[in-house]
Symmetry: C2
């Protein structure tokens, strides 16, 4: 099998001329071009990706930059998202390029040196400097989620606000008036959206939730335990929890059990369920009521959207928010009249 | 900021000549080279990565191919591994290129077109065709784990056999004679190694474990539950479980509790603990006895090893097996004399 170098040597031409001939540049005359194509076929030439990229200007790759300080990738949700994204991009002959960094300047460097054709931005903050950086570079990107900005950008998001509005409303309708919220980190947009939904439902019921009921943190089992503990130690403890992830709920459940309380009786729980393949909410000892949106769907959709964007689809056609199902199981019921 | 094209235009030279001058090819005379370097400096030239790669022959990227049929990435262990690998590779200015495929031919294609400088092979099977494919291509790769092959290759592995030998021996010494093994998929090498350790310890104690005690499957919460159920439904049910992952143990624990049994009293448990940041074994309601090897360490070590390999370190110096700690907590005790 020939590469550019051996093909050029065989023909007695420069690599640059052969490359231009193969890529149909007008500066190469037709006779030379025909000779090059014939030899390429005969010698079974396959273009080196760098050579091909230099000619086409395309990397056939989508970049994801992991923030050094966070543990984005370690989040099992992100693993499911990345799996779906990678598989869908492969159907377009595109790869995912992962790198880690501390600064938004990496986006600039990546874009300039042509390593990728576009980016997927994960876990956006309400005010996310990456949007401004990439917009200024005029480099294609799709955000998984949304931000607070006036800049136009493509995004795929679930209706986080609506989901937590629905969930909170269900709990309020059941008669709960003290609902603990164990949410993601406060600067993340989805956490802000979910808090907005929680607050809107309360407002409709004329209830102002106490600040002590609202917790923001990383979404691990350990923090789920700790925040459930803090909530259950309150003098007037909540009768229901609203949790932002399944792992948080595993931790909360651990604390509830330690205290001898029963889920779905002493404490109602609704959790957001990203449809993790390794941990299913329907399998919990008390099957969990959930707001459900499989994160793999987001990976699949965003793969298509970012390829479309690179190929020239206008941003306005690449802005999508999907509704979230509220699935009621046995972890929710009316609060007990008197508590021990 | 100039690119190769604008720099060449400014100088009135071909892009190929400018590229060769910048990369110090002997075919370019010193005078031309000096002129090119001066202009590059003045115009703030930054090489396009494809141009640089074409010149250096290096991609500064390491490839990982996800099998389409498996859910490798969805495994939270793999997420932790990938996070550590990506972060360490970034310190060498290397990225991770992820792609998904069904066939080992992808490795061949990737190697030929120069997208990556080397591969990391995850989740090897005992007989893994990827080793033969990459060896034949003479393309650098490091295996996370080991295989059964006569071909030389670089690897980083934990002592899975030793870990499960130690764990089984502890249970046997405590007096358990019926130990259920909930292991990973049977064709994966680590599962085979762990089974070997389980069998070796039994052999030393003159006990032949019944086949009904040995289970292999995907390592999800759901399968942990199902296999624990099957084991606890045996007429002569085991008094101890040895589990291959923390999530499996979450599922097993769910079934044990449903049956009203107590961990550390009715059923002893030892689990392998990859040190997942999102799920900690010391936080289980009954703190778990574990064989512990943080999978992030493997990611960090393999990043260095694969870069060393690409840079020319001999394979023989890139073969590493690290021991595994056995950490005893409260989930293990002697079996009860009589069982209900």
């Amino acid at each position: 099998m020939a590469n550019l170098k051996s093909l050029a040597e065989h023909l007695g031409l420069s690599q640059a001329t052969v490359s231009r001939a193969l890529n149909n540049y007008s500066t190469v005359n037709q006779e030379t071009r025909a000779k090059v194509l014939e030899a390429a076929k005969k010698l079974n030439y396959r273009p080196n990706s760098s050579a091909r990229r230099l000619a086409t200007g395309r990397a056939d790759a989508i970049g994801i930059v992991l923030p050094h300080q966070d543990d984005l990738l370690v989040d099992p949700h992100f693993a499911d998202f990345l799996a779906a994204l990678t598989k869908k991009l492969a159907t377009y002959d595109n790869d995912v390029v992962l790198t880690a960094t501390d600064t938004p300047q990496t986006y600039q460097r990546f874009a300039e040196i042509g390593k990728v054709d576009g980016f997927v931005i994960s876990a956006p903050k309400a005010h996310d400097e990456r949007i401004a950086v990439l917009s200024k570079l005029n480099f294609p990107f799709i955000v998984h989620g949304r931000c607070e900005t006036d800049l136009p950008y493509g995004f795929f998001d679930i209706d986080n606000e609506g989901a937590f509005y629905d969930a909170t409303k269900l709990l309020l309708q059941l008669g709960h008036t003290r609902i603990g919220l164990i949410n993601g980190a406060a600067d993340l947009m989805f956490a802000k959206q979910r808090l907005d939904g929680y607050n809107r439902a309360h407002k409709e019921f004329g209830i102002k939730p106490a600040l002590e009921l609202i917790h923001h943190d990383h979404m691990t089992e350990e923090y789920g335990y700790r925040h459930a503990q803090a909530l259950l130690d309150l003098d007037d403890r909540p009768t229901a929890f609203l949790c932002s992830s399944t792992l948080v709920t595993v931790g909360a459940q651990r604390r509830i059990r330690e205290m001898g309380l029963e889920i779905g009786k002493d404490i109602s729980i609704i959790t957001h369920d990203d449809g993790l393949s390794s941990l299913k909410t329907e399998n919990f000892s008390v099957a969990l009521t959930v707001t459900r949106a499989p994160i793999r769907d987001a990976g699949t959709q965003i793969a298509k959207m970012v390829v479309d964007l690179v190929r020239g689809t206008p941003i306005e056609q690449l802005q999508k928010v999907v509704p979230v199902d509220l699935i009621v199981r046995t972890s929710t019921s009316a609060p007990r009249r008197s508590r021990s």
